[in-house]
Amino acid sequence: MNGLLSVENLQTEFHTEEGRAVAVDGVSFTIAEGSSTALVGESGCGKSVTAMSIMRLIQSPPGYIRGGRVMFDGRDLLSLGEAEMRAVRGNDIAMIFQEPMTSLNPVLTIGYQIAEALRVHRSLGKREAWEAAVRMLELVEIPDPAERVATYPHQLSGGMRQRVMIAMALSCDPRLLIADEPTTALDVTIQAQILELMEALREKTGMALLLITHDLGVVAEHCEQVLVMYAGRVVEQGAVADVFAAPAHPYTRGLLRSLPRLGGSGKRLATIPGMVPPLDRLPSGCRFRDRCESAEAACAASDPQLQECGSGRTMACPLWCELGSLAATESRP
């Protein structure tokens, strides 16, 4: 599949005093033009590092992108010069972050911060950019945009600030928006509003979306493709409907099982035992084997790679591949 963004065997590592930690270890995936992809997994599994690597915003030192390619629109972003990469950031690929309370500069007006991207990438003059910023605020449904444009971040609520972040990200019509847990820090009613807004804007502009989240409900509602990451690797990939109907990898099944359900039996919520292992203390063989309920002796011997497993799905567990694809075909009406 030739998509808009194609990450191939990406490797990012951090050098710490205790040694090297490979946070992203051979991640590959493709995002089609205008599609929406979810990147899910527990905290510390490498979701954000993957996103930051795509943007080449890994702080270095201590972080280094060691290998792989990030093909965007026919160019390998990892081989671009710094100035060329700047022309991509905020222009072709934009990003919004988890913490709207701290992601905006407290001493600059929101209008200035939105206009800045337009001035850099579209070479707009001060006044034109300011007017464009007002239109962007209108687009993200902020009331009284003409007045709000001159306010400072501390004068806005968390939800409003995230709208400002979205306005800033979308100001240059990016073809890909990376949203790193955009609603985690917001309360539930605001979360829904922000997600609906992003969905509506995506339909309007035709941009692709890479949504990093650990909220599987959000994935089911807003995304087409899902990538499940565990300990720096993608362990399962496929269409959201397929994966949710018949999760193949034991980790994905564990994640889905740990969701509370309406009309549930009232028993304790299922959890995956243990925690994501520290990157310098990964088990041999399959990285998930310590926590896996179906681990066998063979799991310690070989490191399972992603393999085709049903239509358009890949998965990194040889034990469940066949079972998973079976279940997938069964569950289809």
Partner: protein, 324 residues
Amino acid sequence: MLAYLLRRVAGFVPLLLGITLISFLVIHMAPGSPVELMTDMNPEAGPEIRQRLEERYGLDQPYHVQYWMWLKRIATGDFGRSLSSDARPVIDKIKEALPVTLLLNVLSLFLVISLAIPIGIYSATHPYTPADRATTVFVFLGFAMPTFWLALLCMLLFGVVLGWLPISGLKSLDYETLSWSGKLADRAAHLLMPVTISAITSLAGLSRYMRSSMLEVVRQDYITTARAKGLSERAVIYGHAARNALLPVITILGLSIPGLIGGSVIFETIFAIPGMGRLFYTSVLMRDYPTVMGILVIGAVLTLLGNLLADVMYTVADPRLRKR
């Protein structure tokens, strides 16, 4: 804003009263009196003369009466006359010394700011590099070196060995005969060494402060946002980071305003600069009460105004502090 300013200035009145009362008591209770200093070495001055002098200066009254008299005079803007042999009005003596000290210290502060802030930003954006370590060593050398020693070494090198700069005073003997540009050059030559040396010795504090403040700011989320927008590193550092990093530095600058009028005794003595430091020192030695009190009052007023100015600058620089 105006109401706020008026409220703050009104708050100064009790503060000033407290400051002057304590200073008045401390200086008057210190052993020795101006009358003793004037008469001790004079064989002709007997107890009568002493008594007459004490009456003349009002020193025979109890402290609270003296303070009240002083307060009544100061309220009309009258700082009194110096008790030293020239007996000139205190205000004239301060008027002569203050501009000298102020000029020297303001120039020095400007030099410190214009060096320390770039040094701090550079160190913070290139942390733990050889250049960062080198500037650290340099600023701490300046900090650790005794001012008088550095001053003497510089006078020896630039004044005596090389003969480039005058070594003391504020103007040459032929100053009055020079054209205005010659006067300017003469003044600059005399100021160059004192200003630079006093700047070098106080570079460390501000540059280190700027560095740590900047290191703190570049880790913030909004810096990542700015980079994700595609801004150049320059725009990120100077447009987004430096403005935030400067906020705490304003406090330091506000606190340094009183230092601008203080002047340093050692420094002014070495360079033979007739500034506030020397005036205050000689006045204290002479128990010249009116001059000491005059300097303290003006110092206190300027300190309070400096604090107010720092607060106002703060609200200008940080929108979060502005009233909505």
